[in-house]
């Protein structure tokens, strides 16, 4: 049986080195580019003919748009719609990355902490800058909730700071863990299909069920990732 962790190896496709740093174009980068291409193609093709009464393709694109639109309105409120483009891109990138990873021989870039972590860090920096822009110096109050005596500030402020900084970390761990676990499970069970010969029909059936479930998880995780980014954004905008 082949190694189930092998699918997560990053292989450089076009080696590039700049000032001692390895910035090769890897299979991970390839699938990120692919995700962007798929998204652009999807929306480009679906919205080719724009009519007031949408056809099937246009309705599909509008459905995704509406979905994120409602998500933002419910979780952040009307003032959150300013940041629609950011959340929309985040959702599509993660969702398409997850789904692309389900294809055989594909690479799942969302199973790597480096990729998702960077996305989360961008979300964190975005949220902090939105908060600072909105409240200027009052943003410091985020780390000092109301009703707490100043004597406790040296205790509460580090805790609140770590709490804020740990959010993107937990967001990353959750998405990465979910994607990694699913892919390892698929691979291990797929190994049994070949090994068991005729009896391999049983794990084959099992794997077919799991891959449907994985598709569901892939979209659900992208959804959860987006919802939580929305909630952090709403914390940055609304907190007192």
């Amino acid at each position: 049986m082949s190694n189930p962790m092998e699918q997560f190896n990053i292989k450089p496709l076009i080696p590039i080195e700049a000032k001692g740093y390895d910035i090769s174009f890897t299979n991970s980068s390839l699938f990120m580019v692919l995700a962007v291409v798929v998204i652009s193609l999807l929306f480009g093709l679906c919205l080719r003919k724009r009519t007031i009464i949408p056809g099937k393709a246009q309705a599909f694109a509008e459905m995704i748009y509406d979905f994120i639109h409602n998500l933002l309105r419910e979780n952040v409120g009307p003032e959150g719609l300013k940041y629609f483009s950011f959340i929309f891109s985040l959702f599509l990138f993660v969702a398409v990355g997850n789904v692309l990873g389900l294809f055989p021989y594909a690479f799942t870039f969302t199973s790597h902490v480096a990729a998702v972590g960077t996305l989360s860090l961008i979300a964190l920096l975005f949220n902090i800058s939105v908060g600072i822009k909105k409240k200027k110096w009052g943003y410091i109050r985020t780390f000092m909730p109301k009703g707490i005596p100043w004597a406790l500030a040296p205790l509460v402020m580090p805790i609140e700071t770590i709490s804020l900084l740990s959010k993107p970390f937990s967001l990353t761990v959750r998405l990465v863990a979910n994607m990694t676990v699913g892919h390892i499970m698929l691979k291990i069970i797929a190994g049994f299909i070949v090994g068991l010969g005729v009896l391999g029909a049983v794990p084959l059936l099992f794997d077919s069920c799991i891959i449907v479930f994985e598709l569901f998880i892939a979209l659900l995780q992208a959804f959860i990732y987006t919802v939580l980014s929305c909630i952090y954004l709403s914390d940055a905008i609304h907190s007192h």
């Binding site: 580090p158 770590i162 900084l165 740990s166 970390f169 937990s170 959750r174």
Partner: protein, 103 residues
């Protein structure tokens, strides 16, 4: 004038559809998604707790390196991190309660 009435009609229709959808999804999803929902909350609690500690430990480690005070800041920030992890879980639990309504 006609335009306004039309948009009012559309709004009404929109509201009706939403109400129906809420009714449908509310009744059908509850049974099947209980386990998945519970699993998600479990994973979330674990991730929140661990990430608090990990980030605290990371900050402590870096500060130790910067100020050359190994291992004191690491210990202190490990505790802060644990507290932050619990704070995250506590806030999450409170949010979940609020969502479900007080029982």
């Amino acid at each position: 004038m006609e335009d306004r009435e039309l948009s009012k009609d559309i709004d009404n229709l929109d509201r009706k559809i939403r109400e129906l959808r809420e009714k449908e999804t509310g009744s059908s999803e509850k049974g099947s998604s209980t386990y998945i929902g519970a699993a998600h909350i479990g994973i979330r609690i674990a991730a929140d707790l661990l990430s608090g500690i990990a980030v605290g430990a990371g900050i402590g480690y870096v500060l130790d390196k910067v100020f050359d005070t190994r291992p004191y800041l690491f210990a202190v920030f490990l505790l802060f991190g644990g507290a932050a992890g619990f704070l995250n879980v506590y806030r999450m639990a409170k949010d979940e309660e609020n969502k479900k309504g007080v029982r």
